[in-house]
């Protein structure tokens, strides 16, 4: 199933002119507020008409302005999970969930209610009304409701934006399961680097209504030239790792990745579990000699491959650590003092306590490999 979008739309002084394709798995539409993400998914869903362009999902053309095609929203079969849930207040959770099923052709009713209840852990809520649900529960029901309409594509517009950190942590595993277990491709709108790092296989970077870059998420997030858009403070590398074991004496977990082994504050994961973690550039120090007498537990050897060319006092350095890319943020003064340039052998030092727990996620499922 392939989503193909090439649209133009003027909204007041803002102009959206975006073109991208998305395959299976989870595609993140990433960009700052006002970059046109929501307008773009609204066009895909049929809530907004483009001035010009085309939208197609698989073989079905949904919009083609030149040929005068505009499939109305109720016949697009595109699931939409809104930022605010938008559950029907006058219906119970069960009625909300089954709402879309009602309108789906009988032959196409795939996912059973039981399966969705189990996938999202919402069985106990069935007889309640939306007014009595917590924010996290509402979003899970909203996801279930969209799924049960048997969409050929699922749009999620910042489904976690209105939730606090604890609620986000509650829902993220469900979205991961959804990505890996259901065959529905997902377009996920977000401006959170942590969410994208954790969930996305593919990433489309939007800036001022246009696509600035698109491709595998790990690659885009490491591109030094895109840092102004992906957000410098949050920039970092995504590392795929496996749990090797636990160091119970000190309450640590040992992970192995291509770059070497990592020690983190204990994670409740069984040895052998695969996961991905984000190592923020600002948490990485560089040394040209093997550091000694150091509190940091993680020292990874690598070679400098690229330095950002921005004029300011800060330089982002990209490293190749036995095939795994890492990013480090250092001052221009340090670059000068250490003589860093492409080819320099360095030791990257990462404090164990610096890991961004929020971005620790499961590995990409097979369906999500692009």
């Amino acid at each position: 199933m392939m989503l193909d979008v090439d649209v133009k739309r003027r909204l007041g002084t803002f102009a959206l002119d975006a073109r991208f394709t998305a395959g299976g798995g989870l595609t993140a539409l990433f960009g700052r507020s006002g970059s046109g993400k929501t307008s773009l998914v609204n066009i895909i869903a049929g809530l907004l008409r483009p001035d010009r362009g085309r939208v197609s999902v698989g073989d079905a053309t949904l919009v083609d302005c030149e040929r005068g095609i505009f499939v109305p929203r109720d016949r697009r079969r595109i699931g939409y999970v809104f930022q605010e849930g938008r559950l029907f207040p006058h219906l119970t959770v069960r009625q909300n969930l089954l709402y879309g099923r009602w309108f789906a052709p009988r032959s196409e009713r795939r996912d059973g209610l039981d399966h969705v209840l189990d996938l999202l852990g919402i069985e106990a809520l069935l007889d309640r009304r939306p007014g009595r649900l917590s924010g996290g529960e509402k979003q899970r029901v909203a996801i279930g409701r969209a799924l049960l309409a048997n969409p050929s594509l699922l749009l999620m517009d910042e489904p976690l934006a209105s939730l606090d950190e604890a609620r986000k942590a509650e829902i993220l595993p469900y979205i991961e399961r959804l990505r890996d277990e259901s065959k529905v491709p997902i377009v996920y709108v977000s401006h959170s680097v942590a969410e994208v790092a954790r969930l996305a296989s593919t990433m489309v970077l939007l800036s001022d209504g246009a696509v600035a870059a698109a491709g595998p998420a790990a690659e885009i997030m490491q591109r030094l030239d895109l840092f102004p858009l992906t957000g410098r403070a949050e920039a970092g590398a995504i590392v795929e790792a496996t749990v090797e074991g636990h160091d119970d004496a000190f309450g640590l977990t040992v992970l192995r990745s291509r770059a070497g082994s990592w020690r983190l504050p204990r994670l409740d994961l069984a040895p052998g579990t695969r996961l991905r973690m984000r190592v923020r550039a600002r948490d990485v120090l560089l040394a040209t000699a093997a550091p000694e007498h150091l509190s940091a537990l993680n020292v990874i050897e690598g070679v400098v491959t690229q330095l950002s060319e921005a004029a300011g006092p800060i330089v982002d350095v990209r490293l190749d650590c036995s095939g795994e890319a890492l990013l480090a943020r250092v001052t221009r003064s340090s670059v000068d003092r250490l003589g860093l340039r492409p080819g320099t052998r360095v030791h990257a030092v990462v404090k164990s306590v610096a890991f961004d727990r929020r971005s620790l996620g499961g590995p990409m499922g097979d369906a999500a490999d692009v």
Partner: protein, 233 residues
């Protein structure tokens, strides 16, 4: 308690009033919902003209409204003669005319109540229903309509109350014929015009108060139930 016993004529007026007000209210309802939706959601030139037309009976002296009805819907009136010739519906000096006059007078109140609740409906919920496969009719029936039920109840009660109390337009349009067009207000008015009619007027006044109170309580209960269903916190 003999004093309180209603005479057969008085009973007729009470029954007729309730019947006329009920018919006027229920027949107005579909049109009331349609016009309220149009006024709340419509975006076209001439909307304010329709709005003015709907509100007109509220502002005009009732006698003027009654006279306009007489001109338009009377036996010789363009609409009245057409309806009589093609559908056999006659308004002049019939209870149907009283119901029409009451309906026209109550209509602005009904539309206003429903319109306010339509405006309060979150159109984003309707969008969500659309993405789930519901076409416009189904969105209206399964989302919009259930959400405006409290407004519909309020509109029904307001319209019914107005219809029960309507006097000026009714008496101008269809006169004051006992058993056909003599509703409670007309009957009370008649009693006050004859010597010794005070007792009758007072009895019918009490009846009016009781009916008004019952309608008010009923609406309160219905609205509370509707709100509980919507789980408004």
């Amino acid at each position: 308690m003999d004093w309180f016993a209603l005479s057969p004529e008085e009973w007729t007026a009470v029954r007729l009033s309730i019947w006329v007000a009920t018919v006027a209210t229920l027949v107005s309802l579909p049109a009331g919902i349609a016009v309220a939706m149009l006024l709340a959601r419509g975006r076209f030139w001439g909307l304010s003209l329709i709005n003015g037309l709907v509100l007109l009976p509220l502002i005009l002296p009732p006698v003027v409204t009654g006279y306009l009805l007489l001109i338009l819907f009377g036996q010789k009136g363009p609409i009245g003669s057409f309806l009589a010739a093609h559908f056999g519906i006659v308004f002049s000096f019939r209870w149907t005319g009283a119901a029409l006059a009451c309906g026209v007078m109550g209509f602005p109140l009904m539309v206003r109540a429903i319109r306010l609740s339509v405006e309060a409906v979150d159109t984003k919920l309707e969008e969500a229903a659309g993405t789930l496969g519901a076409n416009r009719l189904w969105v209206f029936l399964t989302v919009t309509l259930p959400l405006i039920v409290p407004g519909i109840i309020a509109g029904l009660i307001l319209c019914f109350a107005k219809a029960m109390g309507e006097f000026g337009a009714t008496i101008t349009f269809v006169s004051n014929i006992p058993g056909e067009t003599q509703t409670l207000p007309s009957a009370i008015y008649t009693f006050t015009q004859v010597p010794g009619g005070d007792a009758g007027a007072l009895r019918l006044t009490l009846v009016s108060i009781v009916i008004a109170m019952l309608a008010l309580v009923a609406s309160e209960l219905l609205a509370r139930r509707a709100n509980r269903r919507l789980d408004i916190e």
